[in-house]
Amino acid sequence: MSEMSENHDLLRHSLDRLFTQQVNRPVLEAAEAGTFPTALWSALEEAGLTLPMVPAEQGGAGGTAFDALAIVRAAGSHAAPVPLPETMLAGWLLWACGLKIPAGPLSIAPVRPEENLTLSANAGGGFRLDGRVTRIPWGRDARALAVLATAPDGLKVVLVEPGGFALTPARNLAGEPRDTLTFTGLAVKPGQVAPAPAGVDGAALHLRGAVMRSAQMAGALERSLDFTVRYAGERSQFGRPIGRFQAVQQQLAIFAGQTAAAGRAVDAAFEALAAGGDIAFVGAIAKARVGEAAGQGAAIAHQVHGAMGFTREHALHYGTRRLWSWRDEFGAESYWQEALGRRIAAAGAEAFWPLLTGTAD
């Protein structure tokens, strides 16, 4: 355990160094204006940070879920404008079904549970992909997409390369690409298709997306709290730092509590990923709990920053606009709360405590 946490301290430090060097205002503003940060992406790839959980033979880093957590959390903390979690998820999908993982930034589809793509046999051999998916992260920048599609003989994973489909650009509140992709008979070679293995389906992908966004949010909350505490120590009014006022201290204490809860909820989800626990339960808890913390934390961060935090000039918004976006991606709080609530209700009152303690039969 202590050896592992020492390794993670090292990892955390090198992540912090890399993101501090590579993510700055020009990079962030350029990304929002449409320029993908290739230098940042190359640095991440060179450091072996883009596929932490994929075995080394498949081009990954052969690490654990905890490596993935540290990386995604740090990326969230620094507002890194790259599809790092999406690439990890695409890598997971492709690796799980034995397809080759291309280099470069990757994305996944669909990301909304109600959307569906279909794969059918093409008259001239091979397959065709049809359907429309929305809110695809970095759809325009992805070197390839790992796509789940329904075929007559079951669910498939399809490796889709750019071109040959229509793309309507869209963005989230933080200016991150969230594009609409329309596939109309896109030709797919047999070598780009594999049956989805057991346990890999739309729900599993959506859940993992929610866990990834939770980790990004935990990082963004931690960083926003840091910013806010620092600002409260620097900004003076009435002859003293505003952080000396009890009203401000009480707000920051609430923020710290929410941030701590978010961090624990995310740890728990990655523990379940690493140990093969009840990820459906713990992952839903993470997204629901962290999303709630995100709203409260962002609101307090802005209140304490006053008008300064309301400007484009101040860096606070790189975090808070992401918090407001990410909490609604891969299912908002209410989505996961409802899923949890239905499960609790169906299990019944006597099963509630065993479920909470992971001791249900």
């Binding site: 990082g219 931690e222 120590g233 201290q249 740890d267 709360q337 609790i344 209700a345 909470l356 303690t357």
Partner: protein
Amino acid sequence: MGQAFRFDPVDLPPEAAGLRADVRAFLREQLGEYPAGRRAHSWSGFSPEFSQAMGRRGWIAMIWPKRYGGHERSALERYVMLEEMLAAGAPVGAHWVADRQSGPLLLRFGTEEQKAFFLPKIAAGDCYFCIGMSEPDSGSDLAAARTRAVRVEGGWRVNGTKIWTSNAHHAHYMILLARTGEAGDDRHGGLSQFIVDLKTPGLQIRPILDLAGEHHFNEVVFEDVFVPETRLVGTEGGGWQQVTSELAFERSGPERILSAFAVLVELVRAAGPAPDQRVAVALGRLTAHIATLRRMSLSVAGMLQAGILPDKEAAVVKDLGTLFEQEVPEIARSLIACEPELGSDEAFVAALSRTMLYAPSFSIRGGTREILRGIIARGLGLR
């Protein structure tokens, strides 16, 4: 950067599963069908018989040395036992303070004679303590305590008034915080702790009824009460440091997240197997909160076990935990229509009503919400 607070992950030890099963079997045998209105008393429930039965099972003083009647088990095993007791609403109130606070205080600061005399009795479930800290003019500002202990031949003479003393009318002893000298510049000097036999002449215990009209706490008046020399705990004048060292234990346990658990269970029952969306969403939200709080509270237990003193983290757990506990009855009543009535024979109504009348105390006892947030702010470096 980033992580102002430290919540290390914990793995429950392998023994925990068997222990949990044993506690559940014990609870079934001891409590049977325990009504929701009783379960809602949570750790206020007072039953010497139950405490003694727990003592026989080795579930009091679980982590103390064997030579003082303890069982040398881990803090995490104790956590598992406690959370099972609280989730079942078991009446653990009689020995609660002695097991959680007074015993550990004596273990750390007590004399050999004190340890040998008190600890085995506590471990057996036969000896109960109460906490004499608050006074009419000294609540959050504990350092303002005015109850005074003056040196006399062979010991001390105590005069003053303690208030809000839970279970003083049932307990055998009080850990008294009294002024023995001048406060000094930091206001924290001159306080000392004593073990006071509650049957000592000159000591009067007067009931104070709570919101529900129940007698849980008391006013305890000292008029020339003699306390023998041998009943000073730790060092004279070291009371403040000793008291504050107890707080992480007092603030982060499962009792700070499970006080409203009976309502939650009855809410799940009342919601039925296929609730409407509004109810499902609310249930899921409460579940996400309690599950996360449990992990935070467990994490503090793990750090205490590792010898770290996570007092800021404990304040975070208590603040979030009691917010949650107070939210539970508010949300429950918004989902299931009922008019609250104590003693209702409907389980949901009985648990809800009881908890509603207890809830205001959750964020007052053991350090108010505002004081805890001050501690958290200090942890952030703001004070």
